[in-house]
Symmetry: C2
Amino acid sequence: MDMPTKTDITKLRVNGQRLWDSLMELAQIGATEKGGVCRLTLTDLDKQGRDLVTRWAREAGMTVTVDKIGNVFMRRAGRSNMPPIMTGSHIDTQPTGGKFDGNYGVLAGIEVVRTLNDHGIETEAPIEVAFWTNEEGSRFVPVMMGSGVFAKAFTLEHAYAATDTEGKTVKGELARIGYIGEQEPGDHPIGAYFETHIEQGPVLEDHDKTIGVVTGVLGIRWYDCVVTGMEAHAGPTPMALRKDALQVAAKLMQEVVACAHRHPPHGRGTVGMVQVHPNSRNVIPGRVKFSIDLRNATDALCEAMDADIRAVAAKLSAESGLSIEITPVSAYPAQPFHADCIAAVQKAADTLGYSNMRAVSGAGHDAVYMARLAPAGMIFIPCKDGISHNEIEDAQPAHIEAGCNVLLQAMLERAG
Amino acid sequence: MDMPTKTDITKLRVNGQRLWDSLMELAQIGATEKGGVCRLTLTDLDKQGRDLVTRWAREAGMTVTVDKIGNVFMRRAGRSNMPPIMTGSHIDTQPTGGKFDGNYGVLAGIEVVRTLNDHGIETEAPIEVAFWTNEEGSRFVPVMMGSGVFAKAFTLEHAYAATDTEGKTVKGELARIGYIGEQEPGDHPIGAYFETHIEQGPVLEDHDKTIGVVTGVLGIRWYDCVVTGMEAHAGPTPMALRKDALQVAAKLMQEVVACAHRHPPHGRGTVGMVQVHPNSRNVIPGRVKFSIDLRNATDALCEAMDADIRAVAAKLSAESGLSIEITPVSAYPAQPFHADCIAAVQKAADTLGYSNMRAVSGAGHDAVYMARLAPAGMIFIPCKDGISHNEIEDAQPAHIEAGCNVLLQAMLERAG
């Protein structure tokens, strides 16, 4: 078969039904009663999932290699041996996970290859589809383990030593399921990396858009905050003589949200966890500990939010006379995606006529680590009510197909 | 010995050192390493305490009777057989209790009798000192059990059936320690009731006053409040699309305090207990449950605070679109004390030259139930830092003596 002309390539479309069917078939492995999937990393079910996806890859003519942390690379050769244009995600799930989180990104890559095969299209650069070990982090920490080792965010030994609640190690479980490969993680050049994913948030649905052109992943700052007052009996202590830690904490909790609003459009501020001491109905709280989660699109903005909330806390402490301690727990830098990759996704979405908008990712993805190694970008599609990490996670077949078409076009633009 | 003249009576003073020594001796029974007392109701230690106090009463020439709920009445005969002028409190303690809570009120009564004996003073009405079973409620609920049965706030059978964590009943434990009497609770007329007590709050200390002339006990309204939003991932969910239950709850928590300030001078509002769901660092809270404790000096003011907080909650719910449910948990009516008893305490404090102020009790006392049966009043003395229900609870010997002198004068005024 002759190469299609450039005009022909932009008319290429994936087989949405075939992609959907593959997603549903993979979702049978670890299927839950409520329609979700429980396929924790490095379990027997994960092995079944890995075996199925790699069988599909081989059936599509791809070669399969595995690295020492169990990342799997499924390669369709190019005309040249230049670094591959890669896509991928993960196939492990949360304990109460859905059918789409991660799995969609991997099977969209397989569908891109199947589509290229259908039309006999060769690319200059090889096309690779990867699935990364333990993205979810629900059985072993850290999260995004496979891509993190690959990007040298932490060492292979650190990852190997991680244990689950039963004391089983990552290394032992990788060996047990037969997915401990020979390849040194990261010893694998990449031309560019794209990842399709359900948004896991409500923005696209709210704006009624099919495609999110992801410009980057928000930086995250986590803190613990402790407000210390004086516990006292709620009855005999008049209002003027109280040192009520919860009342000061409540003000600061609202300032966490106000701080996010002061750093638009991507500033986010959340208090998710609260512990009140002694937590008794008729005792004025003497100590309140709560979490602060601040996010923004650049490290400079994260830094500005850090300074903002600390200044507000100092002011509240001075006004109330109560002590307020803010302790950093962890920080993840913001990761802007590569302008060329963003442009490729944007162009594909526009060319295909899909309604779209720029978006940021508030959650981490394997693409964050890949962006340290190569130009990277992401494609979001809506998920129902923005819900993910939940068995009721859902996405529309039309969106699934659209995101894969964007992936196809963006990869072809980079692969030549 | 001849009766002293009326002038002589106002010059009568108790023996402060003897009262202090008795307090310290009683505090040895169940003494804790940190200087507190753990003498839970109806334990072997409680029996030892009861035996010691009744021995002292008999040594002071008093007759001792016990009712079916174990309330103990120690009587010094009067010239007539009219209803006695009574004082009392309790000798059971919290698990980490102090030396003064309750015990002071009982031993101050004994000291009044000892002082009358020292001076050979007869009274027209009999003088009685009572200690009431299980005021603290830490082993068996309800609290203020003995005085509650006596005042027919609930039945003897209800009290008898209460069990501790080991399944032991009040009736069984009363019988075991030998304090289940013959007398029908409440079948015991009372002329007037006074109770001396440490304040258990910081007001007297803050105002540098020796005596609090207690005008009444605050009414209490307890509620559970549930704010329901929508839990969502803290990363992918932009501020504008959140239904953050904790942020709405934080506003309402501050309104609980504002509501107290809107109903001065005795309005009190406390949020002591908070549960956040799912209480995870990176999840926007979907549901927050918290307690509300509102208090004020009259039932009408408690009712006004109820209406106030419900109106504020309705407004917050309408503004935020989140559901707010406020459910009453329990309510205790306000209990103003009798004008004559308040006046007797006031006159005694003034005559004795003690610095004093009007005060309200924010916590419950046996006097609350007694006030349903007879004219009643209370005398507060300061406690260090307002701390009670704690092993470091402390009071000054000079205040202990002063409160007892006020009790003596107030009882003599009523007893004639």
